[in-house]
């Protein structure tokens, strides 16, 4: 076998009609390229050294690199009865070495041989004496003409042109306010902002938590971690808005009283940072980097009342449903688990649903406020899709490709819409109509990826925190004053039959 290679190499070296490297391609070469990759000869015997002109348009031409071969492109069809060497599969350096080796004394010390062998293995990636590389011919046609590599399309997403549909409301394209958020940690897996029912926006900046009073504009520093190198990994307001739960990188879950600005409890049960928190009346659930979720009953001393083990990697998305029946969790293992609020027969918590469709970490998890059992989830960079699920049947109701990492999803209470926050390349917020899944608006402005979203208690404003160290407040769910009055009337006088008929 080897002698044929040698002969071929020798032939190749002696030929004078090798093309000039780095010259503009000759006319016949250009023509050959134009005629496109010819049909690959299936079943061709690999043993014929004299005619190597197989469909070489697929073989790469390499610049001098690891294996050091000098390559020139050879045409496929031109000059049919000439022997045209296929240099891309030849290893010139190896051939040269083998040639010159003949002249050297055959005696080599064993260590030298070992050394040479080691070099050969290193250079070639395999032991030339021991292995050979095979390639299956007859590769199927590539993607059709006009198929642009999806990734390029993905990352050159232009803003969607203004929709021809008339928007029934005006959504301002600029944020209402921009707040400074210096030192905010640019970590996708953390949940650093939350807005309370008392209209305080809590923001975790590295090792401190600041409260911003939306009504007055006042800023208070609530707390700062005592130990250096410990940072805050999650914040979550209790429903009433008087207590704030804080998860830290030192695996603690702290409970703070806002009025007194004092720490009430420090609950330790995890062994890794706590990146996600969610309240269900007096139960606080925390998700850690180990993939475990703990339930804490904050009223009692023995706070750790349950452990849910459903993830093998960091739990970054955690949300109780609004009726408190289910807990949805998303992890870095690309899984979404839906847990019941009560234990099963065996005393163990097992998820009622596990969704594996996402191809990336699931941090965006949100329950629909107007339809029971409907959950929205969004995937990270490898996935980029938003999925809507019915957690009772386990069916995926809709999927949409958002073309960008999804960090957060919030449903609107004022409109039948939801909003999602994204990263590269546009760092935008997108409003979607539900259930048609059409884009209502895109809000641009952030200059780095969005990390978290949270909504004001009146449901009109969405705050986004991004890696560009700003917090932007977008007034995208502003209620129409007429509609607002109607809603208020409807809420206050539900039992009145006369009002129902007006609606």
């Amino acid at each position: 076998m080897a002698q044929f290679l040698f002969e071929a190499d020798l032939h190749g070296l002696l030929k004078l009609d090798t093309p000039i490297p780095n010259a503009p391609p000759a006319r016949w070469q250009r023509k050959a390229k134009e005629s496109g990759p010819g049909p690959s000869p299936v079943g061709m015997s690999p043993m014929k050294p004299a005619n190597r002109s197989h469909s070489s348009s697929k073989t790469p031409s390499k610049t001098p690199g690891k294996s050091g071969s000098k390559i020139q492109n050879t045409p496929t069809k031109a000059g049919g009865d000439r022997y045209i060497p296929n240099r891309s599969t030849m290893q010139m350096e190896m051939a040269n070495f083998l040639l010159t080796k003949e002249n050297d004394p055959a005696e080599e010390s064993p260590t030298k041989k070992e050394q040479q062998k080691a070099w050969a293995v290193n250079l070639n990636g395999f032991d030339v004496e021991e292995a050979k590389i095979l390639r299956l011919s007859g590769k199927p046609q590539n993607a059709p003409e006009g198929y642009q590599n999806n990734l390029k399309v993905l990352y050159s997403q232009k803003m969607t042109p203004g929709s021809s549909r008339k928007n029934s409301r005006y959504i301002p394209s600029m944020p209402d306010r921009i707040l400074d958020a210096p030192e905010i940690r640019n970590d996708y897996y953390l949940n650093l902002i939350d807005w309370s029912s008392q209209n305080f926006l809590a923001v975790a900046l590295d090792n401190s938590v600041y409260l911003w009073n939306h009504a007055s504009g006042e800023i208070i520093q609530l707390l700062q971690m005592e130990y250096p190198d410990v940072y805050i990994s999650s914040v979550s307001w209790i429903k009433e808005g008087n207590y704030l739960a804080v998860g830290t990188s030192s695996a603690e879950v702290q409970l703070w009283d806002i009025q007194q600005q004092k720490r009430l409890r420090n609950m330790t049960s995890h062994c890794a940072r706590v990146g996600s928190l969610s309240w269900n009346s007096y139960i606080l659930s925390s998700g850690a980097r180990t993939g475990h979720i703990h339930h804490h009953d904050v009223r009692v001393a023995e706070h750790h009342v349950a452990t849910l083990a459903g993830h093998t990697q960091e739990v970054c998305g955690l949300k109780w449903s609004l009726d408190g029946r289910y807990l949805a969790s998303g992890g870095n293992d690309n899984l979404v688990n839906v847990w019941p609020c009560t234990q099963g027969g065996g005393g163990d918590f097992a998820p009622v649903q596990t969704f594996t469709q996402h191809q990336g970490a699931v941090k965006a998890v949100a329950w629909c406020p107007w339809q029971m059992n409907v959950l929205a989830t969004g995937g990270g960079t490898s996935d980029r899709h938003i999925r809507i699920w019915n957690v009772c049947s386990g069916a995926c109701l809709s999927t949409v490709d958002a073309h960008s990492q999804v960090c957060s999803i919030l449903w609107s209470t004022n409109y039948k819409e939801f909003i999602s926050g994204h990263g590269f390349a546009q760092n935008q917020l997108v409003l979607w109509k539900y259930p048609t899944m059409t884009k209502v608006a895109e809000l641009q402005g952030h200059t780095a990826r969005i990390l978290n979203l949270t909504m004001s208690p009146d449901g009109t404003t969405v705050a986004s925190a991004a890696a560009d160290e700003t917090l932007r407040l977008w007034r995208c769910f502003e209620m129409d004053p007429i509609k607002k009055k109607e809603k208020e009337k409807a809420n206050s006088a539900k039992s009145s039959i006369i009002h129902q008929s007006i609606r």
Partner: protein, 206 residues
């Protein structure tokens, strides 16, 4: 019964191991083709495997091609004569190698002599495979963008004295020049061990 494919509680036999590894390659290659955008995403469909949702191609020609490779791999794995499987991604226009996925295979040749199956649960192997496939999916977060349309090539490193079957031809290693390498997780069936790594072009623009 001894020739059973080692699926259930029988443990892992050589044939079973070869099947598991060949299957992994089939799904792994499909995942790479999807994630790197070699073929349009709409030509892929979702299937459940290893407790994950994976994407496999629906293109009949491509499926056929990959099946040929998988079948051949099964045979060679069983005979313990294959050392490496490489997926080479190169630009169609310039023929430059942009990315190179290398799966090293270490085969325990004593398994050929043993008659009894090895002790390792299917689940443990599945978990390991699942980790590797998830890592492959996640590599899109750091691999450089493939700007132009690309084609892929499959290379198999076999023992030197193997008779080259029909449809296969010899080839060079097709390295990536000026590359950055990342090693991914490995998995083992106790008979075959697979190490995965990906080499890509180092960014010339800082």
């Amino acid at each position: 019964a001894a020739q059973q494919l080692g699926r259930e509680h029988q443990g892992i036999t050589l044939r079973g191991s070869a099947e598991l590894v060949a299957e992994f390659f089939s799904y792994g290659i499909n995942s790479i083709l999807y994630q790197r955008g070699i073929y349009p995403p709409e030509t892929f469909t979702r299937v459940q495997k290893y407790g994950l949702t994976l994407l496999v191609t629906t293109d009949p020609e491509l499926t056929n091609y990959l099946n040929n490779v998988t079948e051949q791999m099964k045979e060679w794995l069983y005979k313990c004569i294959v050392q490496r499987l490489v997926v080479v991604i190169s630009s169609i226009e310039s023929n430059e190698v942009l990315e190179r996925w290398q799966f090293d295979i270490e085969c325990d040749k004593t398994a050929k002599d043993d008659n009894g199956p090895r002790e390792k649960s299917q689940k443990a192997i599945q978990d390991e495979i699942r980790s590797v496939i998830r890592q492959i999916t996640a590599t899109v977060t750091f691999l450089p963008l493939l700007e132009s349309a690309c084609a892929f090539d499959l290379l198999i490193y076999t023992d030197k004295d193997l008779a080259v079957p029909e449809k296969w031809e010899e080839s060079g290693p097709q390295f990536v020049t000026n590359s950055e390498e990342v090693r991914l997780r490995s998995f083992t069936t106790t008979i075959h061990k697979v190490n995965t790594m990906v080499a890509y072009k180092k960014d010339s623009v800082p």
